[in-house]
């Protein structure tokens, strides 16, 4: 670990500091600092800032960036009206980690690609231009959608998958104190030629809260397929909300984890579902749309059929139609 300066922020302005890295729960950052995957010169600890409340009303909920994953998962509003989020949180990490990890920090988790976390290996995300050792290496846990020839990392968060399905927006306080909101679609960048740039956050930006509109009535699901029952990242996960009226799908929002460099959502898939009578053929069509551009890397080829099966099972459960 490289020596660093530690500053405790007492007001949001303190977080605006050139070259500084923000630390909240530290569950991911500290590991990466020990490995020297991340070597910040300055850490700004924001945990004293007033960003710990969950404020729900009839239109939605505003979740402070410092709300812990445990508290968020247990919140009665979240459990009742945003069940997919609560379930996704509880499907992630371990009890100890959830007690420490924050909402804002969870969104900014770094990939679990083992080539990213070993500094002896080339990695365009860690060391731009050095190459991608995961391509041609062991890539069982890596991406089949949204990857590029520079990077095939996956985003590890479960929480972010649920938030993507719930149309969450990230509230960002800019270096000048101006507040702006970004959808997760805008917030997360695909790797393209610059996998080191993962979000739209710039110098001095601070995530202050997450806004989630109240979902339309419907059934919630978070289904995570993993190598062991707990404390494993998703091979494939599906989260979302689906409502049925008069035997037809009235609305559907679905997001996917374990497949891509960011929580994945496909508008075309949802359009294909809405207004339709649910049946096996429809579910197949949805899976075809989701996976039309999927590309395996060898070890992770299985994710393509696994995502298909998992999506179809999720749709069966959401619609109650098993045939």
């Amino acid at each position: 670990m490289r020596s660093f300066e530690y500053i405790r922020a007492s007001k949001p302005e303190d977080a605006v500091r050139s070259g500084a890295t923000i630390i909240a729960g530290g569950t991911n950052l500290l590991d990466l600092m020990k490995l020297e995957v991340m070597t910040p010169e300055t850490l700004v600890d924001v945990t004293r800032l007033d960003m710990k409340s969950i404020d729900a009303d009839d239109d939605g909920v505003r979740i402070g960036a410092l709300v812990t994953n445990s508290d968020l998962a247990a919140d009665p509003h979240i459990r009742r009206d945003y069940a997919v989020l609560s379930r996704a949180l509880l499907a992630g990490a371990s009890g100890q980690l959830r007690n420490k990890a924050t909402t804002g920090g969870n969104l900014l988790q770094r990939t679990r690609c083992t080539y990213f976390t070993d500094t002896s290996q080339p990695c365009n995300k860690r060391d731009p231009g050095s190459g991608c050792a995961a391509i041609g290496g062991k890539n069982r846990i890596l991406a089949i959608l949204g990857a590029s020839e520079k990077c095939i990392a996956t985003h590890p968060s479960d929480m972010a998958v649920a938030m993507r399905a719930l149309d969450a927006r990230v509230e960002i306080r800019g270096h000048d104190g101006e507040i702006r909101l970004a959808t997760l679609d805008d917030f997360y960048l695909l790797p393209g030629g610059n996998p080191e740039k993962e979000t739209i956050l710039g110098e001095g930006d601070l995530i202050t809260s997450i806004h989630i509109p109240k979902p339309e009535p419907g059934k919630h699901i978070y289904r995570k397929v993993r190598d062991r029952s707990s404390y494993a990242f998703a091979l494939v996960s599906v989260g979302g909300v689906l409502g049925i009226e008069g035997g037809k799908i009235a609305h559907a929002s679905l997001a996917f984890g374990g497949l891509a460099p960011r929580p994945w959502r496909n508008a075309e898939l949802e359009h294909a579902l809405v207004g339709q009578t649910p049946d096996a053929a429809l579910f197949d069509r949805a899976a075809d749309i989701l996976l039309a551009d999927a590309k395996g890397q060898g070890d992770n080829d299985f994710k393509i059929p696994l995502a298909r099966r998992t999506l179809k099972a999720a749709l069966r459960e959401l619609t109650g139609v098993s045939q």
């Binding site: 020297e36 290496g137 062991k138 062991r228 298909r308």
Partner: protein, 729 residues
Amino acid sequence: MTEHLKMDKVQPRMLDETGQGAITVPMDRPEGRLKVAGQATYAAEYKAENMAYGVLVRATITKGQVTSIDEGSVTSLPGVLGVFATGKMPRSPAQGTAGAAPIQPEGRVDYFGQPIAVIVAESFEQARHAASNLKIAYEAETAETDPETASEIDVPDGQLLDQGDIEAAMSDAAFTVDATYTTPPHNSAAMEPHASLAEWHGDNLVLHGAYQMLKFNREELADSLGIDPEKVRIHSPYVGGGFGGKLGISQEAIAAAVAARELKRPVRVVMARQQVFEMTMRRTESRQRVRLAADKDGKITGLAHEDRVSNLPEEGFSEPTAVASHFLYGGENRFFRQEVARIHRTTAGSVRAPGEAIGQLALECAMDELAEKTGIDPVQLRIQNIPEKHPESGLPFSSNSLAQCLTDGAERFGWSERKGVGKRREGEWFVGMGVASAARTNILMESRARVTLNPDGTALVETDMTDIGTGTYAILGQIAAEMLGLPTEKVTVELGDTNLPGASGSGGSWGAASAGSSVFLGAKAIRSKIAKSLGCAPEELRLKDGIATGANNRRPLAELMSGPISEEGHIEPGTTMEEFAQSGFGAHFCEVGVNAVTGEVRVRRMLAVFAAGRILNEKTARSQGHGGMIWGIGSALTEAIEHDPRDGRIVNHDFAEYHMPVHLDVPDLDVMFVEELDDHSNPLQSKGIGELGLSGAGAAVANAIYNACGVRVRDYPATPDKIFPHLPE
């Protein structure tokens, strides 16, 4: 005085006569409270005045020579004291019971991640930062890292056996199985990483370490440093798990000792988790071909078990994959052959139940396949093929209760409720049951202990034996208490110090029997002295709760003793190891659910029945069973080291991606013991139990998967991707 016994003949069942009631009972571990309260000091927690901190530096090539180490690249960093041990650094840890230095290659690199130096600094953080930034130049060579394509293959003579005619047996058989199974590399993955603190007092070295076999480790460390073993003291009272990973002296100890000598101050070196994976030992991957030939009644007529494993060049160890296949089942035509691929991956060594752990993943799965072909129930097929005597050597078994384990287990588990393949479905889940036999060779090793009885009715047991979390403190105290007629709380046990009499060490499941027998003998000698004081023959003496009775005399110990009586017990293996085939046996039963959509497997319940001679402590023995069963779940479902195909580097070198079972993966585990005393094993009539719990456990899981959904996974572990493609969408 020393009470010596070479185990050449059956010994009286003294522990049946003593009557104190200390043995077998499920006593809590006396040091357990210290451990859960954080008060047991582990190696990495010792501090010494003026201590410096060392961090090992790894090679980032697979094969070649270090041409230069640019010390200047780190010496200007704050706190750095220097780069040490480049000449003495061993390539690998010593293999178990080596008793001599491991290879010290002087800058030659044979696998990615091999330690090549230690950087020492004033603080741990400074040392770690410098270790990340030390510039090393190499002359790299191309390296073979794939056991399947390796050009250098050894065929060890010791693993070759060709009895009868296996080819003829296969062609004449009514039923045959010819299947190939593969198992991945494993890591011991003890909770405590490898850690050492070295302190020199003049020419004498004291090492606080985390080791399993101190008597051997002292020799290994001294030899590595080029000094007299008498000048080395290793202190290892608590070890946070071993599982074979701490059998031999490892690099951090030698590095700490060298750096401390040069700096003239204490140096502590603790491996990071990634280093434990890369630098210590892995269990080899294996490819195993098992052939079974059976007649129309399901009697096995031929059995062949061939395997390919790997290790580094010049490493003597090869996984004894087929060890239990030699005697679990009969059949007159037998063939065994091993190939050892010489490749450049992290050293292969003993990991929990070397041989049995992976050999039975293959053999017991093949038995399930034979059961299906013959249409005979898998429990019955096993029972009817248990040999009367060792099918190769012809030796009688010292004891063999496998049939009872299978029968009792089937009854208790509700085996008769097992349905046909794919016939039980609960919603999205296929549900099935599996069974496997367990066998783990029983071994007695030379061991010494000193037992002291005080007139106040307390006693002290001293030996350099280790407790690696298994319950050694408990059982050695129980044996002494039983023999001396004292309540167990009156006995203190001191372990883990090479200044004490040399023990067998913890490994090979021989620790309890070997160290326990030495304590038994020491206490037996004390009994003789007390009998003499009392004026009775030793066999007449009764000792209970501090009172001696015999020859119509009844006296408190204090009245019979003028001072403490101290006796050393010394056990050695003898002819009973040569005249009898000795093994613990058991049976595993497992029920799993397999998700029809995703292929995820969840173990629902497990039962193991063990026959391991006298059970010395029902609680710690049960815990050993639980541990083994959990290892079985891991090896069946989740655990696998992945090597990069290009350079052999271990890719998943931490607990985030090396998946051991977590709590939610482990259901209620049921363990039962069959009553058994083994008169040929040792004077306690016990057999090893630690590794028996793992042997066969994973195969029961795999067989349950097949029964549940009809997918036969022969490539362990059975992760979802190996199952769902074979299930209807």
